[in-house]
Structure formats: structure tokens, C-alpha cells
């Protein structure tokens, strides 16, 4: 972690910590804490996807499937088999990791378009399975009355408690990712993204790293899925379809593929956009989504995160201008 990231980390930590205090006292944004809980859950997914897209340079259109695998594992294990949610969560992550590994080993030999299509197809298959295995998943009508989370016998019901729990998990994941990025493995990943052949010749086991990151992103998605399940306490396959995979990719794209901060920013922005700000667009929302995706890819390949240094530069310049005057 370099100095900039350390400052950003502390800054964001403070911001996240004081947010409920502010929001809850202003009536018209009091429900923003709820939105932020979902934003936190989606941030976990987008963090994993950002590692995969931005650092390993691979695209996955199957994150919603892993999100779903985690969610359904938690749902089934707790409500059908009576497991403790805290036990179900790692189990779900384990299942997702296994599936990701099985899919990843052959899929990651593929490149670019092929990989995108393969993950897309896989995502749709998982969605079909969730809808078909009625005995386990409840089929299209889904599952209800899934137990919530408890910490030391205390039931987690208040939004603020959820908020702090989710965001501390996000921060742990972020810290983990940052550590990876600024280390031996992270350098290897960035190298793969830039010059795969050279990286391989310099001793980076490219195939192995790609699979590892793919599995890692699946684990993060699955954990997010578990939290989602226990937060909403019901499930249906509609929350894990292709559109969601696209949304996750969009979060990373808008935030900036090359920045973990961007991934979180993208997740938060898009969750707010989808639930609050774009409501006025109603049916036009799908167009807005498409246009955003297109613009991000065409005009802002670095995402919003790439604007930050520019904005800082502009401010710095204007400050020096003012001082000179």
C-alpha cells in the first residue's frame, strides 16, 4: 500500500463511519443507510470483479451466478438444514470457489470474447438451475423466512448494525486486495494484464494466477450473496440473472477497472442511481444503463477513478493561479 492509498483508506473509513450519524438525522436521507447496506454488499462483488477485470485483465459475466451460489448455499443450509448462518457463509464461499475452479481452469485458457461468452453461458445455466431445482431452491418462487444473522446471541436487525458490519467486511476485503496488488502476486497480475507473454517468460504462472483471481472473485461474490440472503431473508432467482452480471460489470467500468477505489465508488454510485436517482427515468432506465456503459467504455476507459487525479490537478493549478495573483 502506498501513501496515497493509505490516506484514501483513512479518509474513506472516516466518511463511512460518520455517514449514518449524518444521514439518520436528516429526514429525507434517513433511508440512505439502507441503500448503503446494499451498496456495501455489491461493493464486495465489484471488488472481486475489479481484481479480475482490472488486474488480471479477464472479464467475467458470471458474477451474479457466484453471488447466487453463495446466496442459495446460505439459504438452503440455514433454512433447510438448520445450519448456523456463520457456518453457512464459508460453506457457500467454498462451493462457489469449487465451481469457479472447475469452470475457471478450462475457461481461462480462453481469451477476451470467448471468455466473456463462456462466463455468460455459465451464468445463464446457473440461473436456470436455480429456477429448476424446485426441491432445493424453491424454484422460481424462491425461498422465504431464511434466518437473519446473529452476533453473540444478539440478533442483527437494525440497519445501522448491518451497515457497520457490511462495511467493515468491505474494508477488510479492500485491505486484502490492496495488499495483494502491491505485492509479488499483484505485480504478476498487473504484468499479465499488460504483456501476458512477457509475464509468463519472467516466471509468472499466468494460468494459475488467473484461476486464483477468478476463484477469489467468486468467493467474494459468494460472501456478498450470503450477506444478501441473511439481510433480505428471502431469495428468488430474479436477483441473480444476466442483468445483474451486467450491472456488476458496469459498476466496475463506471468506477474504473484499474482502481479498487473505483470499484467501490462504482458500486455505491450505481446502487444509489438504480434505487434513488434514476427512478425518475422509470422505463428509460435501461437506456440510461446502456448509455452509461457505452460512454464509460468509449470515452472514459479508466472510469471515474481516472478523473480523480485530473480533478486534483485542476484544483491544484487553480490554487497556484490564485496564489500567484
Amino acid at each position: 500500500m502506498n501513501k496515497k492509498d493509505r490516506w484514501a483508506f483513512v479518509g474513506m473509513g472516516l466518511l463511512i463511519a460518520v455517514f449514518p450519524g449524518v444521514a439518520l438525522n436528516v429526514k429525507c436521507i434517513s433511508h440512505y443507510v439502507d441503500v448503503m447496506v446494499f451498496a456495501g454488499i455489491f461493493s464486495l462483488v465489484s471488488l472481486g470483479l475489479c481484481m479480475l477485470m482490472g488486474y488480471a485483465g479477464q472479464v467475467s459475466m458470471a458474477q451474479a451466478a457466484f453471488f447466487g451460489i453463495g446466496a442459495y448455499s446460505s439459504g438452503i443450509l440455514t433454512s433447510r438444514l438448520g445450519w448456523n448462518p456463520w457456518m453457512a457463509m464459508p460453506a457457500g464461499a467454498g462451493v462457489a470457489a469449487l465451481v469457479a475452479w472447475i469452470i475457471g481452469v478450462p475457461a481461462l485458457r480462453l481469451k477476451g470474447h470467448y471468455l466473456a461468452m463462456a462466463t455468460l453461458g455459465f451464468g445463464v445455466i446457473v440461473h436456470i438451475i436455480l429456477g429448476e431445482e424446485v426441491k432445493w431452491t424453491g424454484g422460481p418462487s424462491g425461498m422465504v423466512d431464511i434466518p437473519g444473522l446473529q452476533i453473540a446471541g444478539w440478533k442483527l436487525t437494525s440497519e445501522v448494525a448491518w451497515y457497520y458490519m457490511i462495511w467493515s467486511v468491505v474494508f477488510m476485503a479492500l485491505l486484502f486486495c490492496l495488499h495483494v496488488i502491491y505485492s509479488r502476486v499483484g505485480r504478476g497480475l498487473r504484468a499479465i494484464h499488460e504483456e501476458e507473454m512477457a509475464a509468463e517468460s519472467m516466471g509468472v504462472p499466468t494460468a494459475c494466477y488467473k484461476v486464483q483471481i477468478f476463484v477469489f472473485s467468486a468467493i467474494l461474490s459468494a460472501i456478498a450473496g450470503s450477506f444478501y440472503t441473511h439481510y433480505v431473508t428471502c431469495l428468488n432467482p430474479g436477483s441473480f440473472n444476466l442483468m445483474w452480471s451486467i450491472r456488476f460489470v458496469l459498476m466496475v467500468m463506471v468506477g474504473g477497472t484499474q482502481s479498487l477505489w473505483g470499484a467501490i465508488l462504482g458500486a455505491v454510485l450505481l446502487t444509489f442511481a438504480g434505487n434513488e436517482w434514476l427512478q425518475i427515468f422509470s422505463d428509460f432506465e435501461i437506456l440510461v444503463y446502456g448509455a452509461m456503459l457505452l460512454c464509460a467504455a468509449l470515452f472514459l476507459p479508466g472510469g471515474l477513478a481516472s478523473l480523480v487525479p485530473k480533478v486534483i490537478g485542476v484544483f491544484r493549478n487553480s490554487l497556484t493561479h490564485l496564489c500567484k495573483r
Partner: protein, 294 residues
């Protein structure tokens, strides 16, 4: 049992041919640009909806509507290349994937706003009643589907092997830099590829609509299965796509008939994954060198 089998076969071949047409659309664009156009399925949807509009609202005769829809969708393909893909010519693979996905979302969204969410229908091309073959039912429209797609395949063959533009397009596919050096306008060829593949997609959309109706949400699934056919047939391989499309359609239909109808949609996708994982050059593609030839 025999009757059922025949019925499943007819059903399977009907959708299979449609998948094949989608696959051919993928192939044309892939051949010239090495882009996989995720919006391919939306062209099919647009074709069907345009035709429904021309018949339903403008009261054109079906055949005129067919051509009008094909041309209109061709224009969409034109716009997509001219205003989006061309801007992104220096973009990386990841960006291109996102861009074509974005276009597909935009097309789908526009179709939803323009045509509403209800399915639209189209009268059959000929008004004859269904034909019975050994107890199985064959709708005349199915024959139209076979006929039109056969025509498309033959016309494309001629185009690519006989006409100047077709040969030039193949040359671009082989080696764009060399093609540019000998004076082939590569940009124009890319444009042509998009128009052509949009038109073929639209044709598929129009001929299937009398049987299956059409709504704004169909594109993604058709596109995915069509891609399955394209990969299975060897990406870029033209007859391979046709054959693979039929294989997929039949597999789906038999699965629905004899195994589980719920998993029908998964069949084509599982085929796609298996093909990608174990034989990415496709069942009918031979080697990387010949991969891009028709």
C-alpha cells in the same frame, strides 16, 4: 413414439435454422473484425418487431414488410458500426465486449419503449393450413423458414466466392494490413459486414415471428444460443454454423421431449461451454489457419 420423434425433429430443425442464421451473423462480423458482436441477437428481435410494425401499423403486405424490416435493421447495423464501433477502433478487447453489450442493452431498451413489452405477431407467409406428415404437424411457415435460410446461405456463398466485395471482405479477414495495402477499403468492409449481419439477423427474426411471436426481451437468449452454434461450428465457418445450429436445435427439442423441458435452455449453453472448453476451434473447423475461411 415415431410421431413424437418426427414432431420433435421438425421443431428442433425449425429453431436450429434460426440459431444458424444468428451464428452466420456472428461469423460475418467476426471474419472481418474479430469482434464478437454481443448485439447479434437483438438484430433478430428488431427484425421481427419491425416486420410486425410494418404489417400491423402500416398494413404492408407480408413480403414487402419482410424486405422493409431487413433493410431497416440493416440501417441499425450501419448506425452501430458508423457511430459506435468506428469510434472504438483503438479500444481493447475488454472495451469492445462492453461496447457491444451496451449497444445490445440500448437496442433492447429502445425496442421496449417503442413497441411495448407485449409480444407482437405476424401473419404466416402463406395462409395454408398445417400439413400432416405421419401424424406430425408441419406448419407451412416452417417450409418458408427452411427456404429463406437456404436462400441466404446460397446467396452468401456466391457473394463471398464470386463478387468483388465478398472476396475483398475475405481478404480483410485474412490480413487487414495487407488488404489495406492492396487498396481494399477495410473500413468500408467492416461497415458492410455489420450491415450484412444485421440484415441476416433481421431476416431470421421476420421468418420466425409468425410461429413464435416476438418481444423485446428475446434477443439475449437467441444471441447466446446462436453464438453456441457459431462456436460449435467453428467460429468463422459458414456451413459449420448451419450444421451446428441444427444440431443445437435438435438437441434442445429432444431434451424437451424426452428428458426435461425445464432444462431445455441449458442444453444449448452446455454445448457451448463444452465446445469452448474442449474444442474451441469447433466441431467442423480444422485448424487455426483455416479458421477464418468460409
Amino acid at each position: 413414439m415415431g410421431t413424437d420423434f418426427l414432431q420433435y425433429t421438425i421443431t428442433g430443425l425449425t429453431v436450429g435454422v434460426i440459431y444458424a442464421m444468428v451464428a452466420i451473423g456472428y461469423n460475418i462480423i467476426y471474419n472481418v473484425t474479430e469482434i464478437i458482436n454481443f448485439a447479434q441477437g437483438e438484430f433478430v428481435m428488431l427484425g421481427g418487431l419491425f416486420a410486425a410494425f410494418f404489417v400491423g401499423t402500416l398494413h404492408l403486405p407480408v413480403f414487402l414488410a419482410f424486405f422493409a424490416a431487413v433493410i431497416a435493421t440493416g440501417c441499425v447495423g450501419f448506425a452501430m458500426e458508423r457511430f459506435v464501433i468506428r469510434r472504438a477502433r483503438n479500444a481493447g478487447v475488454l472495451s469492445l465486449i462492453i461496447i457491444t453489450i451496451a449497444v445490445s442493452i440500448l437496442l433492447k431498451g429502445s425496442a421496449m419503449l417503442g413497441y411495448g413489452k407485449d409480444p407482437h405477431c405476424l401473419p404466416a407467409f402463406s395462409t395454408r393450413g398445417p400439413i400432416m406428415i405421419a401424424g406430425a404437424v408441419l406448419q407451412p411457415q416452417v417450409l418458408w423458414i427452411f427456404g429463406v435460410s437456404a436462400l441466404v446461405v446460397i446467396a452468401l456463398s456466391f457473394f463471398f466466392h464470386r463478387s468483388f466485395y465478398g472476396k475483398a471482405m475475405l481478404a480483410c479477414a485474412d490480413n487487414p494490413i495487407a488488404a489495406r495495402m492492396v487498396g481494399i477499403p477495410v473500413r468500408q468492409m467492416v461497415l458492410l459486414a455489420f450491415i450484412l449481419s444485421a440484415s441476416i439477423g433481421a431476416a431470421a427474426g421476420v421468418i420466425i415471428t409468425p410461429i413464435s411471436l416476438m418481444d423485446y426481451d428475446r434477443g439475449a437468449m437467441l444471441g447466446l444460443k446462436g453464438f453456441g452454434a457459431a462456436v460449435l461450428g467453428g467460429l468463422g465457418n459458414f456451413y459449420g454454423a448451419l450444421l451446428a445450429g441444427c444440431v443445437l436445435g435438435l438437441a434442445e427439442s429432444y431434451c424437451a421431449g424426452y428428458l426435461s423441458s425445464g432444462y431445455k435452455d441449458a442444453v444449448a449453453l452446455i454445448f457451448l461451454l463444452l465446445a469452448l472448453f474442449f474444442k474451441p476451434e469447433g466441431l467442423f473447423g480444422s485448424e487455426a489457419a483455416t479458421l477464418k475461411k468460409f
